[in-house]
Subunit: 182 residues, 2 copies
């Protein structure tokens, strides 16, 4: 886990634009160090973050399938991505191949509040600190847009995950409420 | 209260467009009935709903002041209104005068979810069923856009208000969470 974390401690070149192209957290390549001559080290894998919206929707569907989320019409997913304020994706890059391993998005009024939806890390990459790194990336982006109130609705099993990042549940008794059409 | 409620039970001509112009809930004018010859009846007041975004921001500020909300920079309020998915306002109309008496807005990804913010009814008009009518109008609009998941964050004293409209708090243990920049 510390292994991955170091990848994000290096300086970043982030833009404040909403529609930036592919961005790198300048993750050091595994195997750069001569002391690190293991089987995996020759693979030259690194983790990269992006706010690119032009995602392959089938690849995204595959990621959501992998954590057991129910399928959603791609037409609607496309529309939701277009109308999200922020779309964040996390990639494993090896040479010129990249694999989508994480995703999150946020709706917003572009002024006061943002609400984060659909946070997901591929099971093969969970519990390595990457979910936290993805959320940090999202929060940094939102903060750079001067959003002062970041909210989300957390399933019970991930409340502690978000709490570890500084999210508070029901602050001052404020309650998350849902209404479904009937 | 029943008095106001009848005003909303008549047929409406709502459009499904996001940016509709001034809309009426075809509220019957007070005093139309010959049995109703009271002092107020001659005033011909009615309540009208709108999704018009071109609001007078000073009038909106006055409404928010009236319920004790802290002031927000008008530049940001303007931006938030521009980037909200739905902006709903409620007006008392007498002849050719209109007064802003209620407001609500929603952010959305235009596909799956919407989040309602800044629900307010002027104190002079509270506890008459108008808050509920405003929320019904908002929900109708969101439903007409096929939004399937309507959410909000309720202050403790208004949880029952939203519950009376069918909103559920923490359904299946889902928790509303907040993060503030530090
Ligand atoms: C939730 C999710 C995004 C977390 O990603 P992850 O990469 O496994 O999380 P991390 O490894 O970065 O964990 C970060 C911290 O949260 C903790 N954590 C991770 N998952 C947790 C969970 N389910 N419950 C409680 N704590 C959790 C970790 O222990 C870690 O704490 P630490 O930094 O103090 O050691 C990922 O498990 C996932 O995609 N789950 C399925 C989809 C889902 O449920 N999404 C949330 C919908 S609301
Ligand atoms: C909350 C608010 C919008 C309600 O508007 P309103 O016009 O007074 O509400 P209504 O008259 O339509 O009330 C509708 C129902 O909710 C109930 N209700 C209204 N306010 C309530 C409250 N504060 N707590 C509990 N129930 C409430 C009413 O009894 C009524 O129930 P009924 O239909 O079963 O009789 C209004 O009081 C307001 O603007 N408050 C200040 C701003 C605020 O707190 N907004 C919410 C921020 S999250």
């Amino acid at each position: 886990m510390g292994f991955w974390k170091t990848w994000f401690s290096t300086p970043e070149s982030l833009t404040t634009s909403k529609t930036t192209s592919f961005e790198e957290h300048t993750a050091a390549s595994v195997g750069n160090s001569p002391n690190n001559i293991s089987e995996t080290s020759s693979k030259e894998a690194r983790i990269v973050f992006s706010t690119e919206r032009d995602l392959d929707l089938y690849e995204l569907e595959e990621l959501c399938d992998a954590v057991g989320w129910s399928r959603r019409p791609l037409r609607k997913v496309k529309k939701a991505i277009e109308h999200s304020f922020l779309v964040a994706s996390m990639w494993q890059v090896r040479g010129n191949q990249r694999r989508l391993i994480g995703f999150a998005r946020a709706t917003s009024d572009h002024a006061f509040n943002a609400t984060i939806w659909d946070v997901v890390v591929h099971p093969d990459f969970q519990s390595k600190g990457l979910g936290k790194a993805l959320m940090k990336y999202v929060l940094k982006k939102l903060r750079s847009e001067e959003i002062s109130n970041v909210t989300l609705f957390a399933d019970p099993h991930v409340v502690d995950f978000y709490r570890s990042m500084g999210f508070m549940s029901d602050p001052e008794g404020i309650k998350g409420m849902f209404w479904y059409p009937h």
